[in-house]
């Protein structure tokens, strides 16, 4: 397939793999975090770990939108659907995220709540237009990639006077999460980042510059195709070997330093920073998420239905927090693969195929045999 096959060429991958093996210093290890779930998925699905020398280790970061969604946020959506009779629309993976009382949106749906899986915010608007007598809320999750479409939907709802539409805003910010990972006392053992692909098309490469300048961590922005990831790893190894810490862009076909200014303006018009937001795994992180501006308060489901956020602690045995920070690997969690499986996820990392645990369970389990 054109524009796809070029980035999945096995021969080219072998060349890059050979270069990484040749250039990686056998006397040291390279601990590289791929921030995005999209990269985690590509690494697992294409078996890229087999193309890396043992001393180049990939650590799966928190960039999977459903994985960082805390229990309390899902509870909020479930309450909205069950107690207020709202039609709750959301992106597909979200319906499986475990919530309180052994529920998830999918189970709430089986119990009678009206939960709809959608592909686009436009679908949510359509549900609202098609059900004028019902209230329709969109559980808006995701990083900077999915934020502009939510902003568009809110503006369209305002322009068309759609009064039965609102959003439960759980949009979060990538740079804030990277700060949270790096700002751990005593430092973290991460030598560099494979930077986000789609997020960076929106925000550009500029917001990552503090990670290179202030924390001394190289960042290479990479596309989600396997060759993109391989090339980014090679670029990181080179930066580390040369003692450089810069923001480099492997994904030049889509990402500029400034990003998509129009999308940024739109987001700034509709949303403002929340003071704090609780992340699964990272805890409460300041200035790390968005909420609707006052002008759009009529579309804010939290205000409209008075469903406040109640924090709920994660399952004690679940190691999602340490895994999302790159401190532990999925197989080091006691309940991985036993109590917690893709069929019955306890922690959110087991929910999406982009989550570190689900990716390892579904694609990489054979590696544990040895």
């Amino acid at each position: 397939m054109k524009y796809i096959d070029e980035f999945r060429d096995g021969e080219l991958a072998k060349n890059i793999s050979a270069n990484i093996a040749r250039e990686a210093d056998p006397k040291r290890t390279y601990r590289l975090m791929e921030f995005c779930g999209g990269h985690t998925h590509a690494i697992s699905r294409y078996g890229l770990v087999d193309l890396l020398p043992a001393n180049v280790r990939m650590i799966h970061g928190p960039g999977c939108p459903v994985c960082v969604l805390p229990i309390g946020r899902v509870d909020q959506a479930i309450r909205l659907a069950r107690e207020q009779g709202v039609i709750l629309c959301t992106y597909a993976d979200t319906v499986r995220v475990p919530a309180s009382d052994n529920l998830s949106l999918m189970r709430a749906k089986a119990n009678g709540a009206d939960v709809r899986m959608i592909y686009s915010t436009q679908d949510a608007l359509k549900v609202a237009r098609d059900n004028p007598q019902r209230e329709v809320a969109f559980l808006a999750i995701g990083f900077e990639t999915t934020t502009p479409p939510t902003a568009v939907a809110v503006k369209q709802a305002e322009a068309s006077g759609l009064k039965n539409f609102s959003i439960l805003c759980d949009h979060v910010l990538t740079p804030a999460a990277m700060h949270a990972i790096l700002a751990v006392e005593g430092g973290v053992s991460i030598d560099g980042f494979v930077g986000p692909a789609h997020v960076s098309t929106v925000i550009g490469s500029k917001p990552y510059e503090p990670f290179a300048d202030d924390y001394g961590k190289p960042v290479v922005i990479a596309g989600f195709e396997p060759l993109d990831v391989m090339q980014a790893i090679l670029m990181l190894v080179r930066q580390i070997n040369e003692g450089r810490a810069e923001v480099e862009n492997e994904f030049t076909r889509a990402v500029t330093r400034e990003g998509n200014l129009k999308a940024q303006e739109l987001v700034a018009e509709v949303f403002e920073l929340r003071d704090r937001f609780e992340w699964r795994g990272l805890g409460s992180v300041p200035n790390s998420a968005l909420k609707l501006r006052n002008r759009f308060a009529a579309f804010d489901a939290e205000l409209k239905f008075n469903v406040s956020y109640v924090a709920v602690p994660d399952n004690k045995a679940c190691e999602c927090a340490a895994i999302l920070r790159g401190q532990k690997r999925p197989q080091e969690c006691k309940i991985f693969g036993t109590v917690c499986t893709p069929e019955n996820p306890v922690g959110s990392c087991m929910v999406s195929s982009e989550g570190a645990c689900a990716a390892h369970y579904s694609y990489g389990r054979f590696r544990e045999k040895a």
Binding site: R45, Y46, G47, D93, Y119, F143, R365
Partner: protein, 349 residues
Amino acid sequence: MSTIKSNYTRALDIKHGRVDMSHGSGGRAMAQLITELFASAFDNEFLAQGNDGATLPQANGRLVMATDSHVVSPLFFAGGDIGCLSVHGTLNDVAVMGAAPLYLSASFILEEGFPLADLQRIVQSMAQASREAGVPIVTGDTKVVEQGKGDGVFITTTGVGVVREGINLSGDLARAGDKILLSGTIGDHGMAIMSQREGLTFSAPIVSDTAALHGLIATMLDSGVQLRVLRDPTRGGLATTLNEIAKQSGVGMMLHEAAIAVNQPVEAACEFLGLDPLYVANEGKLIAICVAEDAERLLQVMRAHPLAANASIIGEVVQDAHGFVQMTTKMGGRRVVDWLAGEQLPRIC
């Protein structure tokens, strides 16, 4: 003078009529629906017996029986409809057991308000599929449920076939060293349905591969190769079916991604929706596992048949206490090809 008419006073209004509750009540309306719509289309000597069940001649050999319910939405899709699908699906389940299918039954659950014109289209498609396969629909049933309690029409078909002496196929017979063959591209049926549901259009439309495989299977059985397992990778796709076989046989498998063909529009649609073609349904493909020495010969036999022109050897059965199905990727890596967890949901970014 007698005014008794031998037929119904008014023929079914197929063009404008709709199914109503009386069509399932057991009365005259139901009899009329059966006569004018079903019996005339399926017409065969066994159905013509007109009894509650069909009396069938004695069969020689072990009997195989399989049943399958069909609830597909949309009912009509590129490459087929629920009618021919309900015939092919059950025929294939019988045929992959190594049996020659002989008879089918068909049971309909109709939703009140369903257009008779659509019903006729479906029934005629079933009749054509059954005629082409040479397997008559010998008995059936019709029920009507209230509006909102069904999704237009559900069809359950049951098939009976007979296995001749010397043929023994089963999911627990795969052995380390055996080769795994696939009859063609994967994901065509599932993506035809999905792209229609989501309103996706491509320059080359995605067409369901729904087809009856018993002809292909007969040539494979006649070729004399030592077959161990045949199975059609329907729901859950190739990945799920291979995991089922691995579990039944207590073996592992090593597949080779480069040998698994995917039509380009299917690949594009999967990319677009975040789906993996390995988990997408097929309705006209089969997996064959045979002893290694016979694999090349089986491949030639399959490729000579129009329904398996793109057949390939996609991997081998290996010893593995964990029963993992693994795959070498085009990138030169290795991954597990796991059971499908839940429904295959699209990823969001």
